[in-house]
Symmetry: D2
Subunit: 431 residues, 4 copies
């Protein structure tokens, strides 16, 4: 069984634009990368529909997964050089870092909304189920797959290993901020990762940061903040997301109502029928989705074909900013849409984005976050970040939310000049 | 008709990792980018199968096309500031720069090999045929589409405009070297583009370079040389290309022989039947191809399903270096493959790569190249680059060729231990 | 007289690591750069003693001055392209940008503290006095030198021109943040300058920023904040500054008390005597200062020679953090130093650094700052930045101050083991 | 004595723009950096007069020395991880890397020409003489200073250690190419250093490179070639060098002829008298030289004062290109200069630059170079680089030389309009 802990005769590398090189020294890591389940990540974009806003953002989850692995590897190396790390946890940590996103499917966010799938459950299923990945992990010990799943699921007993992969400042976030900034080309997203590595200290069951590195941590938090609002929540990306969700929704409704597709969505059948197996799931990727969007442009259903054409040719919805009180689409607006012959179920949508750039632990809240702790010069005392940093303090716990109503402006403008519906819609939307 | 020369009220920009921003000021350019035919370039990777070697190389022809446009725009601006440019050619030049690659299909190289298609002909067809692009171009003048096609086809009378888009040092090459270096992450591919721009001088019917910028031009030539051998001709990329070609070939043979696919390749039918229309062609993209490769893994034909599985899961062919004398696969090797039950038509292939990093005009050769001319300090005399530059002189006209024989090593190694065929193959391939 | 508005036959460039190239098209700018007074900026470091903390920070005010000019030039070009700029102010703006720092002397901060000089007054004197720069400026109009001086002195009537050079987000600050980040090598200090340029709008008498670019402005403010605390106020730099100030102070005291220097500070005489002329000032540069620090290591005065040796060989003072209540050096500490034979006038110093990263106008305060105004989508309304930005709002008007007591730890530790003075000092300083 | 091998309790770092961080873990290295002799490198520019051509090139030999140390440290770490390195040579190698340039003085090239000094001898003298550096090295063993001197002097028995510091592709060259490119801002000078490190293999008594990394080595050779001609041999830099040499020459002649300087060059006396001690040498730095150039502008000797003013204010000599046959300044030109009252000894100079970008061993030549060897895939055979690489082959052993005649064009143009001398000079120089 120990063969899996084997080192490669010669280190292998991947050229990577963010980390220069990804270094692989363990046979198990090398073999995991070669599995069908992992290679599949090449066909799932890291940022979903963002490539329609930032054309550089065409990178896949494959490179990101390698990047998270590389960061974990380097941090562990630093810890090992300081005799600050239990080496028996190394391979486990590296596997968890590499595989943390392996359950992602195409356009996960929209899929989960329409079909109730959960990429985290699929990650568990891939690691524990009947897969190449599982068989490889098993060779490193019968309980090894479960341990990897536990680290990713945040239930592993060694909290240090968990926090390396999942915390407010972990290998995952560090890689995606740098990587997404690189591929989109934005100026945000940079921070001094090497400095953060050097001030990280394992401390009991979590990773803390030496006070002297506080500014690098501040800078990371601010980068995260900027990336969220400038890239991840960009209104055009969200518009593409809305259209995508509507397509999936429409296709599901049509399928369930017995609509006869010219192009039968064979690989999606079990999904539509609510009985998708792991093997079915693993067959899905963005090429499959894009293929059907492409051919569905020719379906007889005008809604499906119009929405697909919009997505493929980037004729997205426009938006108006709305306030918190307007979260339910106004009945008058719906009526006017119906009057105009535009189905509001598919052509009107409120989308809300909300981010809390940093927070400390608030018991009982939906997503409990571990605070970032600073290690004082005495080497013992810990202070929570927002107490030491003015800048972080200012944004701590402040949830910022943005609501937008998306609709097809072109469709509205194309209504007959003097139709009452058009007039009403234009007034309600202030166009 | 002149409405197409209209300027946008407010300049629009695309964030671009290579040029920081792409600036659009003309309505025609903006509208061309919005067409279905141009948006389709988002679904065609710039470097084909290279993403299987360099995982960062997932960028599409969409960004590259914008980049070529931006370079042309900036160079023309510099010329205009020096009163060195006929402004009536500006919009034409920009359109040609933007659209020069619009006829590319998915994995063009392999497609052209198997189906005899020609992306350059499709570029002409898209510009001149029944397309959104054609209709937009027409608004700028009845002969405008033809002029754009002529510039791209290198038959336009103003040779200066042609050489801006197509020459040994043009907007196309400058963008792809920088862009491909950026996305792959390699150190090669950088050169001082801004300096080259500044030493460019329109001179009669071509663009020449002031002698003082010779070193920047040298550096560009060397970057090109390194990119070819380090990235474009990487043996793993070529292996993926071989597998891809074999899949297309097999599918075509099966289709033509009446094979009953579980997953009918509907969008590929006219291609297989040799009667593809422009509209059929425009429906093809990499998602379509990847979709069928995905589902064909389940076809009954063992060759098709094996090859598809290899491509999807990156289990590519290995290679041995061969000499010029071995370009025809040895009959003995073929026989041994047949004996072993491995079809040599699909599992053996010689691939040759060949590049001439720089050359001056050699009348009568297959691809005649315009030499790069240096403008001497007297402002009149021109000297050909290789006469002035030792480094370029050293590689001028030297075609470097590399031949490799690709085969599935795993399949060979999996043959019965003591089979004669295995022994023969291993001896012939020195494994 | 108009010859000064002459354009160069051919644009000239300087290679610049921050802006790639600095472009010069006006003869006047070219000639100003060639004057003795401007070339002198090559011998004055941009960041004074910071090179002792960040070894890369050896860059001079020469490059920074060119950079500010280049930013002003580019912003004006953008304004001109939008027909948003009065071209008759262009050359004036460029001259003011180029010359805004020309009055800086070596280690200005320490000099001003010890000798009461004022680099801003010298800038005015150089522009208006008997200098090469003045003679060149005069050729562009008799009142042109005064106009340049007014722009730099912020009294020029066209407030737009003033705010381009001096405001909370001006050409000066943009260049120094990027430049100092580049040369020190820190990750902070980056922001999307090109985006900021594009959202700048001249609006009455000031430059405002389109709301859509708010995040780029936020990022600039945060970069500024980080650079202040990570680079400009670095405690080691401040220690070097303290030692430098003490040297100048000691030399002045010695000179005034008739001390016989082995190495007579000839170029500093009029400075010590309080009757320095403009010509004397222009002879000063960092080489002159460093020369005397070098040779004064051999003077008989032990304080002067010790302090010079500390500065030259980077054996600086150490520090303890102190609170606001401890700003006056404790009398007990002074007494203990005297008891120990260490002169507290030269070996004890409280240094305070204080920064307010962003503020809006507060009438009557020492340094009134113009607020940054955001232009709302209606194209008319202005909103002050901190009202729109959470992050900026959080730090607006918050002055952060840091106090440190500097002293020569080595000297204290070298005191006889059991001396009472040593014991007292160690107790008082907690060492 | 072994205390010197002590590790620091906590690693210390220097922020470095080229290598991100310089890591110091040995107390000896830390203490060496703190010596007066090493700190002195802060006051000696890495590229001499180049800052007058590329204003960013103001960086000192201090940063470069740290960089060479860091590269050596990283390469040794890679070797150690492969069990390919004798760890007892580590500290020696690091000290030699750090100190290899410690004997450099201000503007070494010109000094050596005029005064016959030799910076390599001074490096030996500093390591072996009565210095802080020597005393520190001695603590690591009585023969340790001599070993460090031997490595730097290339006479150390372990050739592997020597070739790490001095060979055609060593830590010194790798750092200066990257560093000088960074500070000047040129696009040349980049190569994939990390790749080169990974393909380096200790092989008997030299470092060889795996064939698979040949292209990275090629790229390094080409970078070196470009940096030489674009930066190091830039004609403006050479002009400044000519003026500088003439100043030193004139000052020496004046001193030796008893000229009474207003500003006595006290620190230069022993230099002028040919009896400079090591301590005198260590007092020299660029501030001392620049100080005297500054004050000598006011000396009575018109040649000295004119040349100093030229250097300080960057009014350098112009040049004409000359051929190999014209290396001796034409007697007619000299006569015409004398006739015009311009001393040709100080105002006419032929400067030749010559570089051989790569060469293999040619026995008996002045500077014998060890060839770069490539390790073939068999892991045994070595092939010399130029036999494998077309590009390198093309430039191997090809010495390129450039000759220029420098003279003060302004002085010539200022001669009386109709003077015969002016006419003659203009004709001879084709101006």
């Amino acid at each position: 069984m120990t063969q899996r802990f084997e080192r490669l005769n010669e280190e292998k590398v991947f050229k990577d634009p963010v980390h220069r090189y990804i270094h692989v020294r363990d046979r198990l890591i090398w073999d995991l990368i070669g599995t069908a389940e992992f290679q599949r990540l090449r066909r799932i974009r890291q940022l979903g529909t963002t490539f329609l806003t930032f054309h550089g953002a065409e990178h896949s989850r494959f490179g990101h997964s390698l990047g998270v692995y590389e960061i974990a590897r380097q941090v562990i190396n630093i810890f090992k050089n300081r005799n600050d790390w239990d080496d028996s946890e190394t391979l486990l940590s590296l596997c968890a870092a590499l595989l943390h996103d392996v359950g992602h499917g195409p356009f996960s966010h929209s899929f989960e909304k329409v079909f109730g799938t959960d990429h985290e459950q699929y990650t568990q299923a891939i690691i524990l189920g009947d897969t190449e990945i599982h068989r490889l992990l098993e060779q490193a010990g019968g309980d090894f797959p479960q341990k990897v799943a536990d680290v990713i699921g945040k239930t592993y007993k060694n909290r240090l290993v968990v926090s390396l992969i999942s915390s407010q400042i972990d290998a995952d976030r560090m890689d995606y901020l740098l990587r997404d900034a690189y591929f989109t080309g934005v100026s945000y997203g940079h921070f001094d990762m090497e400095r953060i590595w050097r001030v990280m200290r394992p401390c009991n069951d979590q990773i803390v940061f030496k006070l002297s590195g506080m500014h690098a941590v501040e800078d990371y938090i601010m980068s995260r903040y900027q990336m969220y609002w400038q890239v991840y929540f960009h209104p055009v990306t969200r518009s593409a997301e809305v259209v995508l969700t509507k397509i999936l929704h429409r296709a599901k409704v049509l399928y369930q109502s017995g609509f006869r597709f010219r192009h039968q969505p064979v690989p999606l059948r079990t999904l539509f029928e609510g009985k998708m197996t792991l093997q079915d799931y693993l067959r899905l990727d963005e090429a499959v989705i894009m293929y059907f969007f492409q051919v569905w442009q020719e379906e007889d259903d005008p809604i499906l074909s119009d929405l697909c054409s919009r997505f493929m040719n980037r004729r997205l919805f426009k938006y108006v900013q709305i306030s918190k009180d307007q979260l339910n689409v106004d009945d008058k607006l719906k009526e006017a849409f119906i009057k105009a012959g535009i189905d509001p179920d598919y052509y009107l949508e409120v989308d809300s984005s909300s981010d809390c750039p940093y927070d400390f632990y608030r018991p009982g809240e939906e997503e409990e976050r571990l605070p970032i702790q600073l290690l004082m010069p005495d080497g013992k005392t810990l202070h929570e970040l927002s107490l030491e940093s003015d800048v972080v303090g200012a944004i701590t716990g402040k949830r910022r939310t943005d609501h937008k109503l998306y609709y097809p402006k072109d469709k509205v403008l194309a209504l007959p000049e003097h139709s009452i519906a058009k007039k009403e819609i234009c007034e309600l939307l202030h166009i």
